[in-house]
């Protein structure tokens, strides 16, 4: 059969009309163009860098940085290397992103639910919040919090004080720092035991419910276990925790935990801005659950709280998760605006100061971009795994 057709049309299509030949040619041309473009760029860059006397390679990462960074989660001083500045910047980026993701999610869910409230005033207030915040550039909001709000706070000597342990001034927010003493390990142990116990309790309660139909108040009992066990351990170990209070020494505070105003401004602005987007996502997610689902749950006799927990939220999450992921990614990328107010994130420390000092633009920019690429690939990977877990399982 097949042979016959080829025999009847021995010539076949002309090679330049043959889609396979065409696509092969196109792809070869595309590869050639990409390679030619890439080679030209590399060639230009190398000759330009040679002309300007810029060194190449990643050796600069081992050289001494020689500049200070106002905030670092890992020990750092000016005698350490550029490699260390990269690490400090990365940690600061991850810190503010993580803080922002947590608060933006909480705030976003609250506002998204408030938007659907049956209370007219609350719903309208949430609407106004969303429409105002998301239509104003984030950089402007960061500037507003940093220069207009936090910049107008009093100087350290006139700090706003709460109970002699919390201080707020234009150098930052000072909090007491918990210092664990000997015997605190017992409390950690109790926490682990409590978590294991709650997991066991859940399994047992589910088994019992499947067998007998009786519902055990797992949630309340679980919370009680999680609170009581560590508290008992803490007291029996003789309260092995002391608080180091911040105190005014000279012109500034020392001791305790300091949240620098750059971090605070960035954190507030990122949380408020992203929350307005998350709120809309949450709202559309909840609205996407059809009314029939709630009615069916009601018909089955489920009380309101359980309907929400077992019927509405799991289905809404399916709609919410993918756009929520991209909001988390946006937040992480937006944290790079830190450089505008001087918070030492990856872009400010590495792409800013390090690049200026070493002049090795290509390496520094490549490393920075690679970091963001990795972060975003990782987040989407995790979210895809989660998404697969909650997706509709059609049988």
């Amino acid at each position: 059969m097949k042979k016959q057709t080829t025999e009847s049309r021995p010539a076949g299509p002309k090679p330049w009309y043959d889609p396979r030949v065409r696509s092969l040619v196109f792809q070869v041309v595309a590869i050639a163009l990409v390679f030619w473009g890439g080679w030209t760029l590399v060639d230009n860059t190398l000759s330009n860098m040679e002309n300007r006397g810029i060194s190449t390679g990643f050796g600069f990462l081992k050289e001494t940085a020689g500049f200070g960074i106002i905030m670092s989660l890992v020990p750092y001083d000016a005698t350490m290397t550029y490699g260390r500045t990269f690490f400090v910047g990365l940690m600061n980026t991850l810190l503010v992103s993580a803080m922002g993701v947590v608060t933006a999610t909480i705030l976003g869910f609250i506002i998204g639910v408030a938007r659907l409230s049956r209370n007219w005033l609350v719903a309208k207030l949430a609407l106004v919040y969303i429409e105002v915040i998301r239509n104003i550039p984030l950089l402007l909001q960061i500037f507003f919090w940093y220069f207009a709000v936090l910049g107008s706070l009093p100087s350290p000597r006139q700090s706003v004080e709460v109970g002699g342990s919390f201080f707020l001034n234009n150098r930052g927010l000072y909090l007491p720092e918990p210092m664990t003493q000997e015997g605190f390990g017992l409390v950690w142990g109790a926490v682990i035991v409590a978590i294991v116990a709650v997991i066991g309790l859940r399994a047992w309660a589910k088994k019992r419910q499947l067998a007998t139909g009786q519902i055990f108040p797992t949630f309340r009992v679980g919370i009680a276990i999680l609170v009581i066990l560590p508290v008992v351990a803490y007291l029996s170990a003789g309260a092995p925790l002391e608080w180091e209070l911040p105190a005014l020494k000279g012109f500034n505070f020392a001791g305790g935990i300091t949240i620098i105003p750059e971090l605070a401004a960035l954190w507030i602005a990122l949380s408020l801005y992203t929350a307005s987007f998350i709120a809309e996502i949450v709202r559309s997610g909840i609205l996407s659950v059809s009314k029939g689902q709630t009615e069916a749950a009601k018909a089955l006799g489920l009380p309101g709280g359980l309907t929400l927990r077992l019927v509405v939220i799991p289905q809404a999450m399916r709609v919410i998760i993918p756009p929520l992921t991209s909001q988390y990614l946006n937040l992480t990328k937006n944290s790079s605006l830190a450089t505008a107010i001087g918070y030492p994130d990856l872009v400010a420390v590495f792409m800013g100061t390090t690049l200026n000092q070493t002049g090795q633009a290509v390496e520094v920019v490549a490393i920075t971009m690679a970091v963001y690429l990795t972060i975003s690939l990782l987040i989407s990977l995790f979210m895809n795994i989660y998404n697969r877990a909650v997706a509709i399982k059609e049988r």
């Binding site: 002309n51 049956r118 429409e131 239509n135 402007l140 500037f143 910049g151 790079s336 920019v365 971009m369």
Partner: protein, 361 residues
């Protein structure tokens, strides 16, 4: 379908009924209403009196700002700088013509049934950039040249956002088609391009454009700072644009592709006559939304030293001639952006409802 004979009766709700239903439906709703209402009333009052009642509107310099409210003099005195940057006064009519043309092209889009409004829009997308190319920088037709380093303020913000969108649209279309291509290598190149640009923050792109672009180019060839920023913004934006357009391409039912194939249309005819017209129409709201986010993101150029509207305000706030005007400045910029973005987003929502041809499920 015939109209029903009788319209349903109007349900009359008295204000008291309405309040009972919407504000005080249960004890916790009542409590919530009272607490939230109290907070709103106590905070809105001072804000309004700061904004309007106690604010200073008339005068010439900062010594006239004696009230406890906002000092709007700061805005009115420096407004020229906020709109045109360092653009010379005697040539500002050129920019004003562009503002006027922009309004002529796009205001009709908001008015239902305006004659030839499609053509106005089309001119805005094609002719307007050409006119602007000759008018704003000058240097030809007897117009005196104005260097791009003198451009600033709102004008620069609009230029960045507008050119960013116009230039990224064709690149985005090509990338989206490439990503849906059946040729694995073309698809791979497009996927890598799109994903890399989408993963990195705009600020790194701008840094790269301003620091690395001079290194990439052969000796003797260089762009001005504004041009470098525009190249960066366009490349970055085209990746986002590609994803929006891909959404439209995927929403076209398979039958359309198959029907085009059955008619014997080649790839380019199929794409140009059947697929793209439908897909682009479907993604207009998406394109408008990316425009809004790009418009907000243009503020980032102040980090690489261009004076957009936020940059001009930020540099004036630190001017010793004006004291404590930071909040006024930020409120002004926020208001400008809010009016643009909110207006455009409302327009896009409207459009979305009108263009909904039932393709989306």
């Amino acid at each position: 379908m015939a109209e029903p004979m009788l319209k349903p009766p109007k349900i009359a709700i008295s204000p008291v009924d309405w309040m009972r239903r919407n504000l005080f439906s249960s004890w916790y709703n009542s409590l919530l209403t009272i607490v939230v209402g109290y907070l709103v009333v106590t905070s809105v009052g001072p804000v309004f009196s700061w904004l309007f009642f106690e604010a200073t509107f008339l005068g010439t310099d900062s010594s006239d700002c004696t009230g406890t409210g906002a000092c709007w003099l700061f805005i009115s005195q420096r407004l020229n700088f906020f709109i045109y940057g360092f653009y010379p006064d005697e040539f500002q009519w050129r920019v004003n013509i562009m503002f006027g043309l922009l309004a002529v092209c796009f205001v009709p889009q908001f008015i239902e049934g305006f004659p030839w409004r499609k053509w106005f829009g089309l001119f805005g997308l094609t002719g307007l950039p050409v006119v602007g190319y000759f008018l704003v920088p000058g240097g030809s037709f007897g117009l005196e040249a104005v260097e791009s380093s003198k451009w600033g303020g709102l004008m620069l913000t609009l230029i960045l956002a507008y050119i960013g969108i116009i230039a990224s649209l064709p690149i985005g279309i090509v990338l989206a088609l490439g990503r849906r291509s059946e040729m694995p290598i073309i698809r791979g190149i497009c996927v890598v391009f799109i994903e890399v640009w989408r993963a990195v923050p705009l600020i790194t792109v701008l840094f790269m454009a301003s620091v690395m672009l001079p290194l990439f180019l052969p000796d003797g060839m260089n762009f001005e700072k504004l041009m470098r920023a525009l190249i960066g913004i366009t490349l970055w934006q085209s990746a986002y644009m590609a994803e929006v357009i891909r959404g439209g391409l995927q929403a076209i039912p398979r039958g359309q592709y198959e029907a085009a194939d059955a008619l014997g249309l080649g790839y380019w005819k199929k794409t140009g006559l059947i697929i793209l017209p439908q897909a682009l129409k479907m993604v207009i709201p998406g394109i408008v939304n990316t425009f809004i986010s790009l418009f907000k993101d243009t503020t980032l150029v102040l980090i690489i030293g261009l004076f957009d509207i936020l940059g001009t305000v930020q540099s004036t706030i630190t001017d010793p001639a004006w004291q404590n005007v930071a909040i006024e400045g930020y409120v002004f910029v926020a208001f400008c952006f809010w009016v643009f973005c909110f207006g455009i987003s409302r327009y896009s929502q409207n459009l979305e409802r009108k263009l909904d041809t039932g393709h989306k499920t």
